[in-house]
């Protein structure tokens, strides 16, 4: 036994046991939030999408909401809909139900306004929370972990201490039969050929290269060159010599396991092991993408100190910067700065990270969960708002 989790009907394991309150469109956010604030045991996800978008993005929103509802950290789901949005609300409900979960939907325009909808939503959620409270934790193994990898607000220490140490922890989880998901495709640029070499076969390697080219083309399409002058003058002053070295520092958090598959944003992997998911690096979108892909815990390394968590997936903050650890105590969960002092080996720190992830998976609260710094989330879309 490695940790205690909630074994769901579909075989996946939850590390938390919430009733999810999911807003299906930006216009329903207020009601979803009001319902959640009045019912203990719920977790609320709001976003800025779901209407006045191109069909490809409407499908994206429908897919991601379905994926979020299927996340094993949710026992059941209350969908909060306005009524006139483009999101395929019935499809979302059906896809979550197909996974064996109870789904209730409240439609603001049908019920008759926010006040009545909030009351109806609160009553529904109360009953769902009582049902959810009967779930008990059971012994689970590394094969039941689905780890999301993320680094943000990085500095010199990131590629030296927390990222390679997290890579060691990720390798252990993969060796133990679990899943590890690497996003942040933007930060593969310059090292994508190296990541592609870690692919299980040449086809997957090519998919990684294609993903990076697509991300680069997206940035170029608005006339920006995201690679201009890399590494920067400041990077060189700090000791980074080439773009390869800089990107390697970012992908070090994925360890050395072979990449077994490449997925679109928010898609749940159908294989175990290390996989790559298309995603930008910005927090609201990548954390949502990892949760929609089914991650039950997320490891987030940071240099200067990024505060965000996620409403129903614990996000463990790991820093290699002692000053950040000391100054941002209400946001940081684990300090690996002893690596920077030469007082701790990467292997030792990797073991500490794995232990912390398992404790959190068993129920230990992260700083972001305690402070509730989890609300500013969004879904990654690729087209314009129209």
């Amino acid at each position: 036994m490695e940790f205690m989790g909630y074994r769901r009907g579909d075989g996946r394991v939850g590390t938390r046991n919430y009733v999810g309150i999911l807003s299906t469109v930006v216009c329903a956010n207020e009601v979803a939030d009001a319902v959640s604030r009045q019912v203990r045991g719920t977790a609320c996800f709001t976003h800025q999408q779901g209407c006045c978008q191109t069909p490809i993005d409407i499908q994206r929103v429908t897919d991601v909401l379905s994926g979020l509802g299927q996340n094993p950290n949710l026992v059941s789901v209350l969908l909060v809909s306005l009524g006139c949005e483009s999101t395929a609300v019935e499809e979302v409900a059906r896809r979550i139900q197909d996974g064996g979960k109870r789904v209730e939907t409240i439609v603001i325009q049908e019920i008759g306004g926010a006040a009545r909808s909030i009351a109806e939503g609160v009553l529904a959620a109360q009953g769902m929370v009582q049902e959810a409270s009967r779930w008990e934790r059971e012994p689970c193994g590394l094969e039941d972990l689905a780890l999301g990898l993320k680094c943000g607000s990085s500095d010199t220490t990131s590629g030296l201490a927390p990222n390679p140490a997290l890579g060691i922890a990720s390798d252990r989880i993969v060796q133990g039969g679990g899943t590890s998901i690497l996003g942040e495709v933007t930060e593969f640029i310059g090292a994508e050929h190296l990541l592609a070499r870690h692919a299980e076969n040449p086809e997957i390697g090519q998919q990684i290269l294609d993903l990076v080219r697509r991300m680069e083309d997206r940035a170029k399409s608005v006339g920006a060159d995201i690679r201009g002058g890399q590494p920067t003058g400041g990077n060189i002053k700090g000791g980074l010599t080439t773009i390869e070295e800089k990107s390697l520092g970012a992908i070090a958090k994925a360890g050395t396991a072979p990449v077994r598959a490449v997925y679109e944003y928010g898609v749940a992997p159908s294989v175990k092991g290390l996989v790559v998911m298309d995603s930008p690096g910005r927090e609201p979108e990548i954390l949502t993408g990892l949760a929609a892909a089914g991650c039950n815990v997320i490891a987030f390394t940071t240099g200067r100190g990024a505060p965000q968590g996620f409403p129903f997936v614990p996000v463990v903050k790991i820093t290699g910067n002692r000053r950040t650890w000391e100054k941002l105590q209400d946001h940081m969960d684990l300090d690996v700065s002893p690596i920077m002092d030469g007082a701790e080996s990467l292997v030792h720190a990797g073991d500490r990270i794995l232990r912390e992830l398992l404790e959190v998976a068993s129920g230990k609260l992260t700083k972001a969960e305690i402070s509730g710094y989890t609300k500013a989330m969004d879904i990654y879309t690729v087209g314009p708002v129209i």
Binding site: T156, L160, P164, G190, A191, H193, L194, R227, Q230, I236, G238, G239, L240, T241, T242, I243, E244, E245, L248, G249, A252, T256, I339, M340, D341, G342, A343, S345, L346, V347
Partner: protein, 100 residues
């Protein structure tokens, strides 16, 4: 264990300084759980790299167990390994197209 520089993978031929290291010092480098001593030839600022064995001109420079560039000059053990003696192999419009 207290080290002055870290070698990320055993196959790496450079270490990264964890503090400013002066010329003439014997730097303790950490390689996984093991340590070794390297005589330092020139000042190595915090976060910068030095060779942990002699690197020939044209040889690949390895960090994270991966190629981060190619030596443009000999980098003797203990010497500063940076832009003055390493070139990138990516995004090089001046090299033949399609080259990696």
């Amino acid at each position: 264990m207290n080290i002055d520089a870290i070698v990320i993978k055993e196959t790496d031929n450079v270490a990264t300084a964890l503090r400013d290291i002066r010329a003439g010092e014997e730097a303790a480098i950490g390689v996984g759980e093991k340590t070794a001593k390297i005589p330092i030839q020139e000042p190595i600022p915090y976060g910068h790299k030095f060779a942990v064995r002699d690197i020939e001109p044209g040889e690949n420079v390895l960090k994270y167990g991966e190629v981060i560039g190619r030596a443009t000059a000999a980098i003797p053990v203990g010497a500063h390994a940076h832009v003055q003696n390493i070139e990138s192999l990516r995004g090089r419009g001046d090299l033949a197209k399609g080259g990696r």
